[in-house]
């Protein structure tokens, strides 16, 4: 179980080592100490390993992650798990803006709050935020699921495509073409699966969630929608 201390190992050495891992490697559990707000920690992993980061990270932690399980025992800066393809990223603190930006797959769990633009441009990632999310979350969200146990800020789901949004708390405002939609049984089942995967079990009443999604009025330009543009 390699332990890397970033006070005496460079980021390049850490990421280089993580990138060299093959699927046969036995080094499947890594600990990273003293990240102290460094950027791009554990970015670009493509291996079914577990990486535990002790402390706060800067931007783009676990950027473009594939197959790895990355745990941040602290806060994460801008763009955590941006463009993640698969795997699981767990931020135990808060996340800064653009968490999970353009993510295509995998699961991002944030125990604290996520900031503005959570799930911006998401393309299939699942994001579960146990706290609240800031304004313009799920902006241009194309696919995937965003689950928020707390509140959502202004302009939620602005210009949304086909992503599913579930919010338990209050929504300050909905963005262009984003409307509340009925929470049917199959949605509840999907939500239950996501909450279980995020380790939220039992204590939360699924019925308290509301579902939001695309009104699909902006899918083809029409002059009568000009106020939305």
């Amino acid at each position: 179980m390699p332990t890397i201390d970033l006070t005496n190992t460079t980021l390049r050495e850490l990421n280089g080592a993580l990138h060299k891992l093959s699927h046969e490697s036995n080094e499947t559990l890594w600990r990273v100490l003293n990240p102290r707000g460094l950027h791009s920690v554990a970015a670009g992993i493509d291996a079914p390993i577990q990486v535990e980061i002790e402390g706060h990270v800067g931007y783009y932690c676990a950027g473009m992650n594939q197959r790895a399980y990355v745990v941040v025992r602290g806060n994460a800066g801008q763009g955590v798990a941006e463009n993640m393809m698969s795997g699981h990223v767990h931020v135990q603190g808060d996340a800064s803006q653009a968490a999970g930006a353009s993510g295509c797959g995998g699961l991002l769990v944030i125990d604290g709050n996520a900031s503005a633009r959570c799930g911006i441009s998401m393309k299939g990632i699942d994001i579960v935020v146990k706290g609240s999310v800031g304004h313009l979350s799920a902006f241009m969200a194309q696919a995937g699921n965003l689950v928020v146990l707390g509140d959502a800020g202004e302009a939620l789901g602005d210009s949304i495509y086909e992503a599913h949004l579930y919010v338990r708390g209050s929504v300050k405002g909905l963005g262009a073409d984003c409307i509340e939609k009925p929470l049917k049984e199959h949605h509840k089942a999907e939500l239950q699966k996501l909450l279980s995967a995020a380790g939220v079990n039992g204590s939360v009443d699924i019925g308290e969630f509301r579902r939001y999604g695309s009104a699909r009025k902006l899918y083809h330009f029409h002059i009568d929608n000009v106020g939305s543009y």
Binding site: R36, G37, H56, Y59, N75, G77, Q97, S115, A116
Partner: protein
Amino acid sequence: MCGIAGIFLKDHSLEPKLGALLAGMLTPLSDRGPDSAGFAVYGEPAANHVKLTLRAPQGYDFERLLRAVGPTAVPPEVYDTHVVITIPDERQAAIVAQIDTMPDVSIVGQGTRMTMFKEVGRPEQVAKRFGLDRMSGTHAIGHTRMATESAVTTNGAHPFTTGPDQCLVHNGSLSNHNAVRRELQRNGLKFQTDNDSEVAAGFLTWKMGEGASLAQAMEASLGALDGFYTFVIGTESGFGVLRDPIACKPAVMAETERWVAFGTEYRALVDLPGIDSARVWEPEPAKVYFWERH
């Protein structure tokens, strides 16, 4: 674009370390602001006196200037290209008029407690030149600059002073600053640069000159200034933070029982004492934040 650092001490015992703490915050922000740096330090006031921070070109003979100013109760302090003179309130107008006649000397800042320093160069070098790590005080704000649409000059470096004991640093890019500058010039304000940040500082000065409080002036700037910005503003008693409504530029705050700090990136805060147990959060967009000592 840039990096901003600010620190406000609640625990008086940290005051001798203020400069060292700020210097430690500026270094990690050098990547995003390599061109120049500046900072404002709020130190011990002298009753009925005002501090003027003056700047002159490298190698300037400060002795001549100080002889012209005359003896002062508090000795002047020379810091590389800058000098801080502490003069009685009643002599301020005359001395300022005198300095205005010296073409090579400019007044960087003035106030009862604020001293201000800025220069072109890597932030670590700038901090070293001025001996920031030996300065003490109650609060300080600093800035590392990556010039976007104006030249890399000392005048273009932040902070920009908005009035006595007041200064502003900025990370972002305003999009209507030229029109606002022209309007402010019509109202009598003078500008030294074509820098958008100087316009923001001028706007706050003008608003407060019209009777607004700093908080009101900051609120007004949300409507008057267009673009992307994070402002950190220093005043005699504390500091303020404001992000524009779209809030794309980063901003991180941290607080303990001993201090409140601001950094553009969390990296700037990592060496602050007690950071591991600090409350860390991000200021909300379009909301005026202010911390002051009473």
